[in-house]
């Protein structure tokens, strides 16, 4: 029998706020900060401390909700999710349960040729837990509560995905969206986005859902897709043998490449949710929502459409450019300064610049906020080429130097006289010299094989070190060849 996977994803995304969800502690990079240095009585859950909602976190949550086309609740309610664990200072996590911030949205994904619409069930705010570190010798566990209380947005999809490709497309599209909205860095290595997958199988064509498992704590796209592949295969094998799937919570062992059981349905936590009495219901007025609506930037799909229509780009190039919001912005800034057609700039960017950056292990953003090559300088280089001040090959070698030296094209040209030879006499003598040295080619041109002119042009370019303007050279070649035949 052929089995169809049915997958729903829960995505936990840290929100990029200055301070934590319910206290004034700074949100820091927990992979580098000294443990337990960004804590206070509130996020430590000390007796008598009380939470206060971080309005900025709500702003960011609303921005995501709007971008996903959700229905935003005029009143949502925080709730306590109760369980014991050392990384959870209060013994409960403040989350949202019955009345989430927003619900009923959609995310369009492009897993292949065809666009698919994945329904979003709900979007809610909650606080992150701390981190545990287990040591072998001596055998002990340490807890770092810097992360405790960091705002999290949980985005829950409907079980609308049916393949690894769709799951991957959903995860990457959502990550891109969060980056566009500037609510999350998208920095997967830092654990700012984490996944939980609900997976079940059913006979292809069936409409009823099978028994599902939940895989927790998937911290990378790779873990997400590999665990799903593994689980689909495992469940298919069991089902094909006529065995039932146990409803359970699974973990993912990255090294072994397999899932393992954490809790069965019977052992499942009873979180005993109830409304958080320390926080009044969260009211979102139409005015507040309108204010947030104005902060929602152009989203990837719309931007892609615009790049196609406004700059005449191909769909593929446009998709490449919108993969990161910063790339699309870079492109548009470069077009502006270059004065060249968008297609030209796109070719320079995706063809040349990306290649050079790749081989140097660099990114457009560079390191420490300092761009490797500002878009304006990149645009200026393209302008020099399009205005004919330098030729294409020279431009390309200049680009290499710009990246490696950090100097602008203008500076490099003035330093190394890399500019095009504009002196007509110098060019004409180079053309004449080429013709004299290649009598065979000249003869075949005159014999009617006019395409030879392209070869001759190449020769002139070679002898001038690429500094000749190809158009001018072609014109001179035509003139010289025409003159020769008359003589």
């Amino acid at each position: 029998m052929e089995w169809e996977p049915v997958v729903g994803l829960e995505v936990h995304a840290e929100l990029r706020t200055q301070s934590k969800m319910f206290c004034g502690c700074a949100v820091v990079d927990c992979t580098v900060a000294e443990p337990n240095t960004h804590t206070c009585p509130v996020c430590l859950g000390m007796p008598g401390s009380l939470p206060v909602i971080n309005r900025r976190a709500v702003d960011l949550g609303l921005r995501v909700a709007l971008a996903l086309g959700c229905r935003v609740a005029p009143v949502s309610v925080f709730a306590r999710k109760n369980y014991f664990y050392p990384d959870l200072p209060k013994g409960y996590q403040i989350s949202q349960y019955e009345l989430p911030l927003a619900a009923e949205g959609v995310l369009k994904i492009l897993p292949g040729e065809q666009t698919r619409v994945i329904r979003i069930r709900r979007v809610h705010l909650e606080e992150d837990t701390g981190k545990l570190f287990h040591e072998e010798k001596p055998a002990r566990s340490l807890v770092d509560l810097n992360r405790a209380g960091v705002p999290l947005l949980e985005i829950v999809s409907e079980p609308d995905m049916h393949s690894v490709e769709e799951v991957k497309a959903y995860a990457t599209t959502l990550r891109r969206l969060l980056q566009y909205l500037e609510v999350n860095s998208g920095d997967m290595e830092k654990g700012v986005i984490r996944f939980e997958a609900n997976i079940s199988l059913r006979p292809k064509g069936a409409t009823e859902l099978g028994t599902r498992v939940e895989i927790k704590n998937l911290n990378s796209f790779r873990a997400l897709t590999r665990s799903m592949e593994y689980e689909v295969e495992r469940q298919a094998a069991r089902l094909s043998e006529g065995q039932a799937i146990r409803q359970e919570t699974l973990g993912w062992d990255e090294n072994a490449g397999r899932t393992y059981s954490q809790r069965s349905k019977e052992e499942a936590h009873d979180y005993r949710y109830f409304p958080e009495p320390d926080l009044p219901p969260l009211e979102v007025s139409p005015q507040w929502l309108e204010q947030i609506r104005r902060t929602v930037p152009e989203l990837p799909d719309a931007l892609c459409d615009r790049l196609v229509s406004q700059f005449g780009l191909g769909r593929y190039d446009a998709e490449v450019l919108v993969a990161e919001r910063s790339t699309a912005e870079y492109f548009q800034r470069a077009v502006k300064t270059s004065g060249a057609p968008g297609r030209t700039v796109a070719a320079w960017l995706t063809g040349d610049l990306f290649g050079l950056l790749n081989t140097r292990n660099l990114t457009l953003e560079g390191r420490g906020g300092e761009p490797v090559l500002p878009a304006e300088e990149f645009g200026a280089l393209i302008r020099m080429v399009s205005e004919g001040r330098i030729n294409g090959p020279t431009g390309k070698s200049l680009l290499v130097e710009m990246i490696d030296t950090g100097k602008t094209a203008e500076v490099l040209v003035s330093e190394g006289s890399l500019g095009q030879i504009t002196d007509e006499d110098t060019l004409r003598s180079a053309v004449r010299k080429t013709l004299v040295e290649n009598p065979g080619q000249v003869a075949s041109f005159r014999g009617g094989k006019t395409s030879v002119i392209q070869w001759l042009l190449g020769q002139v370019m070679k002898t001038t070190g690429g500094r000749a303007n190809p158009q001018t050279v072609r014109k001179m070649l035509e003139e010289e060849l025409a003159r020769g035949s008359k003589e």
Binding site: P41, L44, G45, M46, P47, G48, S49, L50, P51, V52, I53, R80, N82, F84, P86, P89, K90, G91, Y92, S141, V143, L145, D270, R272, Y273, F274, P277, D278, L279, P280
Partner: protein
Amino acid sequence: MDPLDLSLSQTADALREGALSSRSLTETYARRAEKLDPILHAFLQLEVENALREAAAADERWAVSRKSGNAPGALNGIPIAVKDVLCVRGFRCTAGSRILEGFQPPYTATPVDRLQKSGALILGKTNTDEFAMGSSTENSAYGPTHNPWDVTRVPGGSSGGSAAAVAARMIPAALGSDTGGSIRQPAAYCGVVGLKPSYGRVSRYGLVAFGSSLDCVGTLTRTVEDAAFLLEIMAGYDECDSTSMPSPVPAYRKALLDGPDLRGVRIGIPKEYFLPGIQPDVDRLVREAFGKLQSLGAQLQEISLPSTEFALPVYYLIAPAEASANLARYDGVRFGVRREGDGLWETYNQTRGKGFGSEVKRRIMLGTYALSAGYYDAYYGQAQKVRTLIKAEFEKAFQEVDVIASPVTPATAFRLGEKVDDPLSMYMEDLLTLPASLAGIPGLSVPCGRDSIGLPVGLQLCGPFLGEEKILKVGWAFQQVTRWHLEAPNL
């Protein structure tokens, strides 16, 4: 002049006029507290030396102000006591529990902070039922407090330490907390004034949480004027407590200066509050008090609050449910006492098993059960619905009357040990104070006489939400024509 005979307000006047120094005032109270505490055990911590140092500094401020003309805070140099469920930097905060033995909070609760900013100095922390769960202060892990009127009896609870300390004149005033009657009931048992403000009127920041939707910080004082005095300073919005009310704080004390004239004041007497089992003395004295109010011009009318009987079951679902979550943080990981076991879960078991007393465990279990999957709707959910009903009944009643008057408790203080093995009968002590807690409305307990064996009886005055002025006015008027609040136990 014996400073012990002065009310808080009179003490403030004496200090301002220079008739009394903070140093001598504080010394007098401290010595008395030290002398009586071995008998009463009202305090869990007394910091006499520190208080005397602060008193000297307060005297210094008085001296400076007399030259400069800039008055210091209204409470400058006045010692007060704080129930040991409110965090005060520099003091331990145990909440009467072993699990917080030696815990030193690095912060001060907002209401305490406001009193300190006004110049008050903290003489000590008072005894409480563990995590404020109890009606007799017998649930304190550090031993019970005794009633100053009869040391074989309980002072009530859970603010029994504060009530006993004020009644025994070990302190001019003390802070308490009231979740279901924990200020009003001990105030009645000890013959002092207890004020539970409206929910959210005073910040809960720094108050060790028991039932978060019910917890209120309030006062135990000798006079109603003193309660108004302290409330005025403590009340008001606090950005650290999202449930605190932003409404402006009235000048409560000023409102009292109109004179004991209750003409035009409508007082409702809920018939449901006079239960068949009520102690005859209590019934008589409270009705006499009604007569006094009437003689001051108040109009009395019987009213009905039919949902009163449901207050007890509703309260004992909601408060323990919230408590079960509030007390989850005492896991031995970050603060308080940790008892190591073999592995994480055994450490939890040891820490919590040995750290909590039996009443706390009982309520954690009650609350956990009420919130469990499959039971939530029937218990917690249903309780919330009935709570809404109770609230609505009060709102309706307050369309007809300004204040609701009743006994605070159906009986006077019981004997130590009398009810410890009978939790249900202990819970019944809260019967008449629970409804106001559930409704979030203010309640005042005012001494209105003593029973045949000399134990104090309390009159409860409840007002509409944020209507503290109304009950303070009635309570103050009552004290203008009675002398119960001037009597002190013989110790």
